[in-house]
């Protein structure tokens, strides 16, 4: 019988960073930070059994035992004598929908135009829609859009809207409560003394911060890490924010995302399909984390989303997201708005510091 070697479950994927590594448990959605030595033990000595390892690392046997203890107690791997029968996951990325996510800025667009937009999104098999109202938006408008998605392939709509008054919020709460496609709804710019317990609706959340323009997007934080097999495989092959995304901004410009400068036509004259067919529409779709400066050395790169609209060096296509406070070379998280090296870019994008605390992100 072949010897027993240690095998990670295929859904627990080690990712090497500049100073340390992670094991991304894509099945249970957890990420474990590990030392590089453990990463190398798993990768370079995977054909050795315990006795062999114990002999090779005789001086560090207690560490070795600690490592295996950690791996076994978190059910990250197992000892097996048929390692050859447990192949890795093939992370090919293939999805049938042409567009996965749409961001729609809804304040200034006429209600009627949404018929055209949603009809296109249905043809494009879009699954997720984000409705953004930076100002107060009539509940009837949101309801109108929600109704257009009934019985459509659109699975989930998330909504951002400004607080107006209790009556409007209750009305909205009722509507999203009844609407199976309506997902999490954020009411921003809420007064500090707002009592919300009367709105029994777990889809709704309230924030005192204002989300007053698209410059609020693009924050990177461990809170937004998504640790699953789809996101991981998409990140290996495509941009983890902009791939299969389309948006219509407040002026009707069709863009990859509202924060990006390039427009591919106006929704009044152009359809989403025609915009999408233009040569450059997808130019950012294949910029991978493995190619992005600093991110390529980051142990979180395949569970972290990306941002191409706000980057440290606006002239460099492969620059690191501006709104990330993590440094993979020191393993420190810091407030990015305070970083002296980022001030130039902050100025360039005209991001007023007060507007940069909100944490909305697709």
């Amino acid at each position: 019988m072949p010897k027993k070697v240690f095998k990670l479950y295929a859904s627990c994927v080690p990712v090497l960073g500049a100073k340390r590594a992670t094991i991304c448990d894509l099945q249970r959605g957890k990420v474990y930070v590990i030392p590089q030595s453990l990463y190398h033990l798993l990768m370079d000595y995977s054909d050795k059994n315990y006795e062999e390892l114990a002999e090779m690392f005789a001086n560090d046997k207690s560490i070795l035992d600690k490592y295996f203890n950690f791996l076994l107690s978190n059910e990250l791997g197992f000892w097996t004598h048929e390692a050859q029968n447990f192949p890795p996951i093939d992370f090919t990325f293939q999805e049938p929908e042409i567009i996965q996510t749409a961001i729609l800025e809804i304040d200034d667009l006429d209600t009627d135009i949404f018929q055209k937009i949603i009809a296109s999104l249905i043809r494009l098999k879009c699954k997720f829609v984000e409705l953004r109202a930076y100002h107060s938006c009539p509940t009837s408008k949101i309801e109108f859009i929600l109704n257009l998605t009934k019985d459509s392939p659109i699975r989930n709509l998330i909504i951002y809207t400004q607080f107006t008054n209790i009556e409007e919020v209750s009305a909205l709460s009722k509507i999203i409560g009844q609407h199976p496609r309506a997902g999490s709804t954020v009411i921003h710019s809420c007064p500090s003394d707002l009592k919300t317990d009367f709105l029994r609706n777990d889809k709704m959340s309230f924030s005192q911060e204002a989300i007053s323009s698209s410059t609020h997007c693009g924050n990177i934080s461990p809170d937004y890490f998504i640790n699953d097999i789809r996101v991981f495989s998409e990140s290996l092959h495509h941009n983890s924010c902009l791939n299969r995304k389309i948006s219509v901004d407040n002026k009707g410009n069709i863009k990859n995302c509202p924060s990006l400068p390039d427009s591919y036509g106006n929704i009044q004259e152009t359809s989403l399909e025609d915009a999408l067919a233009q040569k450059d529409f997808k130019k950012l779709w294949n910029i991978k984390k493995d190619e992005i400066e600093k991110c390529k050395d980051c142990e979180f790169r395949h569970i972290c989303s990306d941002c191409r609209a706000y980057v440290e060096d606006p002239k460099n296509l492969y620059s690191k997201p501006l709104k990330c406070g993590y440094d993979p070379y020191t393993n420190q998280w810091q407030d990015w708005t305070q970083n002296p090296l980022k001030q130039k870019a902050i100025e360039y994008y005209n991001l007023s510091p007060s507007s940069q605390t909100a944490t909305n992100k697709t």
Binding site: M1, Y9, A10, S11, Q27, R28, E75, F78, Q84, N85, F86, P87, P88, I89, D90, F91, T92, Q94, P96, E97, I98, K125, P153, I229, S233
Partner: protein
């Protein structure tokens, strides 16, 4: 045109395969067994007509391949008939049994009219039962658990000893789920203790019993036209799921990882599927602690989403491609 037959119950695999068919711009139509009863499909089966079986709203000549994902849930029709009927329970159950049979004859007429088209899985092969599968599995050289169908307590006690006092019972027919407003229940695999058996009547409802197979892990294998996509399920980690991994643990879901079945076992599975005349199905196996592969059952209509997703096998796409190819050949 690809014809998708499915029941009215939510079926996420059907949605995903349909997404892929759209992606490939394939022509398909989805009909539900219910359509024949709700009025949205008309049927006429007239023996003296040249074309005996007629479905005016569905041009059968256009159908080029068929994907079968379930068809009818009996409860809907039986409910209509029995709701305001005043009669004894025994009459009711006899009646619902009879209605189910008639319904079955009906669907068979429809299936027969499709018999010359490529089908996934073969509609005639769906009827295969567990005992038949086990017998054939043995024939192709697969190991199977010790198996007994009996109604007799004494026989069962003897079998219990022969199985080293580790016995399970499971449904002789398919597993189904029943939903109530606040809960769901279903047929499960159940571990039997000696006490359980001693509490039985001398003669009981004829049931299926099998020796409990101590497992290292379970295998769920999706078979599609000669190709195998296997997944290992490490349910043994968790007390809750030792007998039947469908008893989920949400906090720490069982580890489910891609698996490469050794060639010899893979060949036996292919032989079995051919013998059963099944072009697709989900196979349950156990890998024992002493390195034996034990075959449990084939489900011609098994869910494959639960294999496809964790292993990133893209089975929905493969099924769609298969249906399109069948159309072209």
């Amino acid at each position: 045109m690809i014809l998708i037959l499915s029941s009215s119950e939510l079926n996420i695999s059907v949605e995903h395969v349909a997404d892929w068919l759209d992606f490939y711009q394939a022509d398909y139509k989805r009909i539900l067994g219910d359509d024949f009863f709700s009025g949205s499909q008309t049927i006429a089966y007239q023996l003296d007509e040249e074309e005996e079986y007629q479905t005016p709203n569905l041009d059968l000549k256009q159908v080029s391949s068929i994907w079968f994902r379930g068809f009818i849930r009996h409860r809907t029709y039986i409910k209509n008939t029995t709701d305001d009927l005043q009669t004894s329970n025994s009459n009711l159950s006899e009646l619902s049994g009879r209605i189910a049979k008639a319904l079955h004859k009906n669907t068979n007429l429809f299936f027969k009219s499709l018999k010359d088209k490529p089908q996934l899985p073969n509609l005639q092969a769906l009827k295969t039962d567990k005992m038949d599968m086990l017998t054939k599995a043995k024939k192709v050289g697969l190991r199977i658990p010790k198996t007994l169908v009996t109604n007799n307590k004494q026989k069962l006690l003897e079998f219990y000893e022969a199985c080293d006092q580790k016995l399970i019972t499971k449904s002789l027919y398919e597993c189904v789920y029943f939903f109530e407003e606040d809960r769901a229940f279903s047929f499960k695999t159940h571990l039997l203790s000696k006490e359980d058996i001693l509490n039985f009547e001398d003669c009981f409802f004829p049931s299926l019993f099998q020796g409990y197979v101590e497992k290292e892990y379970e295998l769920r294998i999706f078979y599609l036209d000669g190709e195998l996509y296997s997944m290992a399920i490490f349910s043994q980690l968790d007390e809750q799921t030792q007998v039947d991994f469908r008893r989920y643990n949400d906090e720490k879901p069982n580890r489910t990882v891609p698996y490469q079945l050794p060639d010899e076992e893979a060949q036996k599975i292919c032989d079995l599927m051919q013998m059963l005349n099944l072009s697709t199905g989900s196979i349950d196996m156990i890998k024992t602690k002493d390195d034996q592969f034990v075959f449990l059952e084939v489900n011609p209509n098994g869910q494959f989403g639960m294999t496809s997703f964790p292993c990133n096998y893209h089975l929905e796409q493969k099924v769609a491609q298969h249906l399109i190819q069948a159309t072209q050949s």
